[in-house]
Structure formats: structure tokens, C-alpha cells
Symmetry: C2
Subunit: 312 residues, 2 copies
């Protein structure tokens, strides 16, 4: 298995990315190789500083870098030799099994859509965020930022592809799918939420358990939380802030520690023909290391192939 990482993506790149990769090598299963994509001299310099040499890390040189503030579509077409451009080229050609980056999120999303493309029948690929649950385990929330405005049909499909993703990644037989809403009753919510509810309820391929509320995000009510990318993003970021506040206050707790973005490290783009993970711009070495653990699981799950089979 080849797990590719954009060495140049993120506010602390390449230093933090390469450090995270070095840490990951000792923890990943033996069938995993890591491919670092970026400026070879910069990567080698960090290896040297750390006296690091490993037979399980390859470097693929990329001359250019897409910066955080660049316009995704323009940057991708103008910089085919950027680390993100090369990463998606390799992913499309199946030279790598997953592409991970803490760089420009828009460029990662557009890059996935332009290279490996949406799975046939998928209306809108989305970003699935991992949400730790009190009592253990994780739910995913779909979408957490790729699609700020969603039609009911799009939301309903998030429930279906999210369910397949969770089923295969977490080995949960019938994942509980819930709609994030402002009340438990069917008729509650925005016009979009009201129109989405019956579409989810009528879909016999999923185990729809109804609406959940903001207070239920962490409380193990659902395995797949369906929401638009605006609502999902603000909820996800508020959830991550719990750890920041607790840390400031000197509070240490195993669950709250899991709400730290570093403990998960990345989110998955689902609904595309391949495996893509994106990480926070501020990603630390720990965050990168942990993302690579999830990346390994995601590749093993073959979730995207199961989604493609189910829809076609």
C-alpha cells in the first residue's frame, strides 16, 4: 500500500509534515509505504537534521507549491507540477493508494473532482469529518465544508454514501444515519431539513433513525450525521474548540483529548473514485502521524469501491 503525503501543504510545511511522516513509519503496519511529494532538497534536509533514513519512505519531487490563499481551480491548472497537482496525477494513475494533504482545502477538493472524479451517480462529493463519541468510537459528519449550500437530494445522498463509508471503514453492519436538525420531530427544521427527512426515511438502503440535535453530536446517537457543509463546518469547529478551552483550563480528560484535531488529524473526501484525506492547515507532526493511521484504515476498507458498486 502506498500512502502519499503532500510534504508542502500546511502552515508548518514541510517541517511538520515530514516530522509526522518520520514518526508514522514506526507505527504503520509493515505493508504500508509512505510517498512524500514535494521539494526533494527540503525533505532530505529535514531527514538529515533528524538522522532519519527509512526504506519505507519514497520521495517524489514536486517543483511547485499551491499556497493556502490561492484560487483552487486557477492554481491547479497553472501549477501542474505542484505537490497537489502531482499527487492527484499519481492517484488517478493508481501509482498511490491514497493522497493526503494539509494544504489548500479547496485545491484538494477541486483536484479530486478533476482527476479521480466523482463516482457516477454521486451528486456532490463531500468531506466526512470524524467525530469522537463519549463512550468510545467515532461517528462521521457529512458534509463539514465542501458544500455550503445543499439541496435535499444531495443531503439524502450524503446519508447513503456516508452509511456505506462507515460500514466498511468502521465495520458497522447497519450504521445509524441521522439528520442534524433543530428538533426531533419530523416536521421540524429549515425548509431543506424538512424536505430531506422523508427522502432519508424512504431510503430502504440505510438505517435512518430520524433527527438529532446539536447536543447529540458527541453522545453516540448516530454513526452518520447528515448535514450541509455550512452547518457541519461550524459544528465541527465548535467541537474542536472544546479541547482548546479544556487545555487552557488545565483540564485533562481522555474523551476531550479526542476532540483535539490532532488526535484524528484528517477528514476524508467521500464520493470520489479514490482515497483522499485533508488535514488542518495548522497540522502538527502528531496530527499528520495520526492522519496516516486513518489513511491506512481507509485504504484497507476499499470504501470508495463499495460506494461505486452500490450506486452502479
Amino acid at each position: 500500500m502506498k500512502i502519499a503525503v503532500d510534504a508542502m501543504g500546511g502552515d508548518l510545511a514541510p517541517q511538520a509534515i515530514v516530522e509526522g511522516v518520520m514518526q508514522a513509519t514506526s507505527e504503520l503496519p509493515s505493508d504500508a509505504r509512505i510517498v512524500l511529494i514535494g521539494r526533494e532538497d527540503a525533505i532530505l534536509e529535514i531527514f538529515r537534521q533528524n538522522n532519519f533514513s527509512s526504506s519505507v519512505v519514497d520521495i517524489i519531487h514536486a517543483e511547485d507549491v499551491i499556497e493556502m490563499g490561492e484560487h483552487p481551480t486557477k492554481a491547479l491548472s497553472q501549477k501542474p507540477n505542484s505537490s497537489i497537482g502531482i499527487g492527484f496525477k499519481l492517484l488517478k494513475e493508481k501509482e498511490i493508494d491514497i493522497f493526503c494533504s494539509a494544504g489548500n482545502t479547496g485545491a484538494m477538493h477541486v483536484g479530486a473532482l478533476f482527476s479521480i472524479k466523482a463516482i457516477e451517480g454521486v451528486l456532490r462529493p463531500a468531506i466526512a469529518g470524524y467525530v469522537p463519541q463519549v463512550g468510545g468510537g467515532y461517528a462521521i459528519m457529512v458534509d463539514i465544508g465542501a458544500n455550503a449550500d445543499c439541496k435535499p437530494e444531495v443531503l439524502a445522498q450524503f446519508g447513503e454514501i456516508g452509511s456505506l463509508f462507515v460500514q466498511h471503514t468502521f465495520q458497522i453492519e447497519r450504521p445509524r444515519v441521522a439528520l442534524m436538525n433543530i428538533g426531533e420531530e419530523e416536521q421540524k427544521g429549515s425548509l431543506t431539513a424538512q424536505a430531506t427527512y422523508p427522502l432519508l426515511k424512504d431510503n430502504k438502503k440505510i438505517n435512518f433513525i430520524g433527527n438529532i440535535e446539536g447536543k447529540d453530536l458527541f453522545t453516540n446517537k448516530a454513526d452518520v450525521i447528515v448535514t450541509d457543509g455550512f452547518t457541519g463546518n461550524v459544528l465541527f469547529k465548535l467541537g474542536e474548540s472544546f479541547y482548546e478551552i479544556a487545555k487552557q483550563k488545565g483540564i485533562q480528560d481522555d474523551f476531550i483529548d479526542q476532540t483535539n484535531y490532532e488526535s484524528i488529524g484528517g477528514s476524508s473526501i467521500i464520493g470520489v473514485n479514490g482515497n483522499v484525506m485533508i488535514a488542518h492547515g495548522i497540522s502538527s507532526p502528531l496530527a499528520i502521524k495520526n492522519m496516516l493511521g486513518w489513511a491506512y484504515k481507509q485504504v484497507k476498507s476499499k470504501a470508495y469501491l463499495h460506494i461505486a458498486n452500490a450506486l452502479n
Copy 2:
């Protein structure tokens, strides 16, 4: 000052409501009288159980009760002698200075619109939720549930009336108004958020500081957080769950304790010609007691008159 409380509203009414009122009497300033509206015999029975007698509590008998699940408009027209119906009649006639209830939220909102009515020029009255801030003090988030779908003009006005409300209730000269969004840059967000930003920016009556993100809810970035009632509701409820999770985990912290719904006790309907507060259905005596403290401050602030003057 007469602070009226619906004795019959809430899952634990009238017991928890009357107990909260009894506790409040010893803490409220001496110019506050409490008016309990509800079934006189039930209220008196609770007084008797507690050997309670006070010269600052009046009872106004209401024969009927609007239940939590009832349709707001129907219930209000069919039950004029309900505690909520009588409460709004008294508020309209200025027999009381504020009306508070933990009962049917929809009936409280519709009751306010039908009786004291929206302030002229206010597009949509909204519910302002009090959000404790790390480091002390409170922000308000508008809306937290009355208007699940909001046009940009409505959101922009939440910024203006929210700013006036905070200015007079919290005595903050130029409250910082922010738009809840999924990124800090102006062009970020849903179509609605993108269209709202310039309206807030161009409004010279407010101190608009730009977008904030979910992670900023508690971190003292803004005094007025503008959002639609869907987003605001899910964020507010996730915020309240912080306390519930910490309590389960045995974590005690002054800030986290403030995220407990009981510590604030209620939210304010703003944009109407009078003072109205609503509380959680599950309100405990402590929540009711604390709401009455806020109610006192709200009446003193005359915020609704300031809003009416500013708009007309």
C-alpha cells in the same frame, strides 16, 4: 417592576417553576415583584409544602395550560385563558414588565407576535441566546431557533437589533458584531452568508468585525453573533452539551459550569414591543431562578424601547 412567570410551562411545571420563583425572591432587588400565572390551587399547594409566604409574589389564576406539543397558533386562539394567553394579555396591557415561560416555545414566539407585536421596521423578531465567554462576560447569538430560514436582509438586521440589545443590556458602548461563517474571508460561506456580509459591513450603525467560525463561539471574539435560527440552534445546543459531558466525566470548571443551561436559564425574544424570555422545557428551579435575574436586567435596560427608537 413586575416580572411575570408562567407557572404551568415546562416539563417539570408547576413544581420546578414555583420552587425557582421562591428561591428568586430572596435574591432579586427590592423593586422587583414576581407575578405567577397559572392554576392558583396548584401554586398555593407548593407554597404550603414549603411554608412559603412572601409579599413580593402575586398569583394570577389561569384555568388552562398550553401543552408542549400543541400547535402554537391553534392553542393560543383556543385557550385565551391559558397561562401563556393571559401572560401576553397582561404584557400587552403593560400590567407586567416582562413575561417568562419554560413552556411551548412556538406558542411563546407566536404569542409575542400576536400580542405586543414586532417593532415597526423589524423584519423578523428572533431569539437571542446568551453565550458565556472564556475570560468572563456573555455574548448573544441571534437567532437560536425562531427563524430556521433567513434572508440576508433579515440576518443583517439581527446584527443591528442585537447590537442595540447588547449595548443597553450589557452596557457595552460599541458591541462587536460578527457573522457566523465557515471561514474568515469575506467571500466565504453559503450564498446567504456571502450576501449578508456586505450588508453588515455597510451598516454604519454597527461595529461589524467580520466573520467568525464555530471555534470562536466561546472565545470572546464578538458580543453579537449573527446567524440563522437553524445554525444558531445546533451550535447553542452543542455548546450546552459541553457542560453535560464534563459533568458525566466529573470535571468541574467555572467556565464550563456557565455553559450549563441552568446558569443562564433563559433566552430573550428580541425585536418585539416588550420583554419576553423563554426557557428550556426541562427547566429546573435553579434555571428559573437564574432566568429571573436576567429578566430583571432586561427590564431595567429598556432595550426594546431603544430598538424601537433607533428604527423609527
